[in-house]
Symmetry: C2
Subunit: 365 residues, 2 copies
């Protein structure tokens, strides 16, 4: 399947400007520090946002940097000096309280702790409460790869979704990522998905490009389909859970959403997404040590063999070869690391403007 | 939302005969023992099949008992004396080899082991290879409730699904269940879903009742939609992953399918569903000890509070009150335990006929 089909609104970056990865990370750290964030927390944040853009998850990276993180830190709308602490612990598990700071911090600490626990126990699992928006899930799940482990990350957030039978925004888009290593140099299997039909970022992108959205993504206040992205923002329309309607599995999407709410919020003693204020979030991290179950070579052999059996199955005319979650993203990462990450000029203008306000050097172009 | 809408083909049991739960379990054990299965293994099997029918998962219970299990055991198409063993172990994890026997056995052993490990470690996780079809996932996940834990169960199986861009049956319907306790006497949250748009059993039921199936469930060999269930069996049509098409999240359904393949098969050193022969399966079990993360009362409070916020959100006209996964099933279980489980007379005729062939007493009616 062509990449353009896999990511319907994702490509066509005519006019984009390529930015050097190192310079961008450096700017991210400097801006957050200027906004009052401790250096170590600023680094964790820049790491994740950079990885988001490197993987092509453009809706969750530096495009949101100013509004979501820098301005909120600067205006003390989030706790810039949070006391992130482990509030409960067992040999393979922990609960972390994020103290209302940047979500990147307790989630990075949580994922690293899960990996450490998996070294001894075989699996590590951490639930994080009292946090805020932390970007996409896959950068956290991908942290397990360096340890040769399977990584799982979940987060609540994006309270734009209507449960079955409703047309109001009630609960989160609640996302999850599952990452499993393949034999080097094959890219890792990397699923990163909202539990809704579509992530809100896709509707933003359609609006920016003046394109209609397909029926089945979002509904108006009377439950009828929205196809004009402007209408979605005008009436505060609701996104549908994955599955969309009763006959096509909406109870599955809704159920997965609640599974994320339970593992990421309720299990930590926190709230589900339907009760969280805007930008608040809870997270879940897990790492699984493969050689606690089977040896790495066998695991890689079986991954390869499974993927080969799927790839070599007959394709429909025009469908192109089968790709796996993580493959297009790995290709982008390789390209962007080499040539720089492409940004729409408006994103860079926003960063330049931010630098002016913070009184720091821009230095990207 | 009315139950009839939640389970479109599930109700309308005119002419069904109610069967006593104890008698049914007893018959299940006697029949399997007569087919050569050890008593303990027969009990594990009857436990799960009974729970399947009690929860209304009629496609996975005693309706399949003769064909799927008794006849195959009797004809030595599965290993009736498997050497089920733990082949790898860490403090919180284990790998079990099912030795080609009835799937109920290694999965029950695996789930109980996960629960035991969670008592010390906080979480327990077991991957099971070399197994066979084991019914639905929720009976295993529900085993965690007795220990006050969260339960997760996954299985490969049902190789009827086409990956994106294909129209052939290539990989499994790969199912998963997630169970979280609520404060007594509230029923547990219990998600039990195939990672395809629909489970194959729903197409069987439509065929039996002479009803069309909706577009978006299954495709013909050229990729066009199938709406006549007869056609699905005639051409060996393929079911679609959850999401159905590219614009509505088919990559998410496909990704979840592969997540199950990795955790349930590959992690144990076994094969993914796309390489397994018919009726072979691999499983995954996990148990999470809630009070390793937060105290039980806080957890129950937050579950209640979350569900209340979702229930009290505005509903669309005619939608009825919101139900949660597990609620309709718990209502059925209570009703069926009291009044007996309703079966179509053809299912009972099949069991009676089986008894004749095995030379055992029927005793249900």
């Amino acid at each position: 399947m062509a990449e353009a089909e896999v990511f319907p609104f994702h490509y066509a970056n005519e006019g984009d400007v390529r930015v050097d990865v190192g310079k961008l990370h450096d700017l991210g750290v400097r801006a957050l520090v200027a906004a009052g964030v401790p250096d170590e927390h600023a680094r964790m944040t820049a790491d994740v946002l950079l990885m988001s853009d490197l993987r092509g998850i453009e809706s969750h990276g530096f495009a949101r940097f100013v509004d979501f993180y820098v301005d909120r830190a600067h205006d003390n709308l989030l706790n810039v000096h949070p006391n992130v602490q482990i509030v409960a612990e067992a040999p393979a598990t922990a609960t972390i309280d994020g103290d209302g700071g940047l979500g990147f911090v307790p989630a990075t600490i949580g994922m690293k702790l899960a990996i450490e626990k998996a070294r001894d126990a075989g699996v590590g699992m951490v639930s994080v409460r009292n946090s805020t928006h932390y970007g996409p899930c896959s950068p956290y799940a991908l942290m397990a790869l360096d340890a040769g482990m399977i990584g799982i990350a979940m987060t609540t957030g994006g309270n734009n979704v209507a449960p079955p039978g409703a047309a109001q925004r009630v609960h989160g888009l609640n996302a999850m990522s599952f990452v499993a290593p393949c034999r080097d140099p094959q890219p890792a299997f990397c699923l990163d998905m909202a539990t809704s039909v579509v992530a809100a970022g896709k509707i933003e992108i359609a609006r920016r490009r003046g394109k209609p959205i397909p029926e089945g993504w979002a509904i108006d206040l009377d439950g009828s389909p929205i196809t004009d992205p402007e209408r979605f923002y005008e009436v505060l329309g609701a996104i549908l859970p994955l599955g969309g309607d009763v006959l096509h599995g909406v109870w599955k999407g809704f159920g997965l959403t609640l599974m994320v709410d339970v593992l990421a919020g309720v299990l930590a003693g926190g709230k589900g997404s339907s009760e969280l204020p805007r930008r608040a979030a809870n997270h879940f991290c897990a790492a699984i040590r493969i050689d606690a179950f089977t040896d790495h070579e066998t695991f890689y052999d079986q991954m390869e063999s499974m993927m080969l059996s799927l790839r070599t199955a007959p394709r429909l005319p025009g469908a192109g070869p089968l790709t796996f979650p993580g493959e297009p993203e790995a290709a982008k990462e390789a390209n962007y690391r080499r040539l720089g990450i492409p940004y729409h000029p408006s994103v860079l203008a926003g960063l330049r403007d931010m630098c002016g306000r913070l009184g720091i050097e821009y230095g990207l172009e």
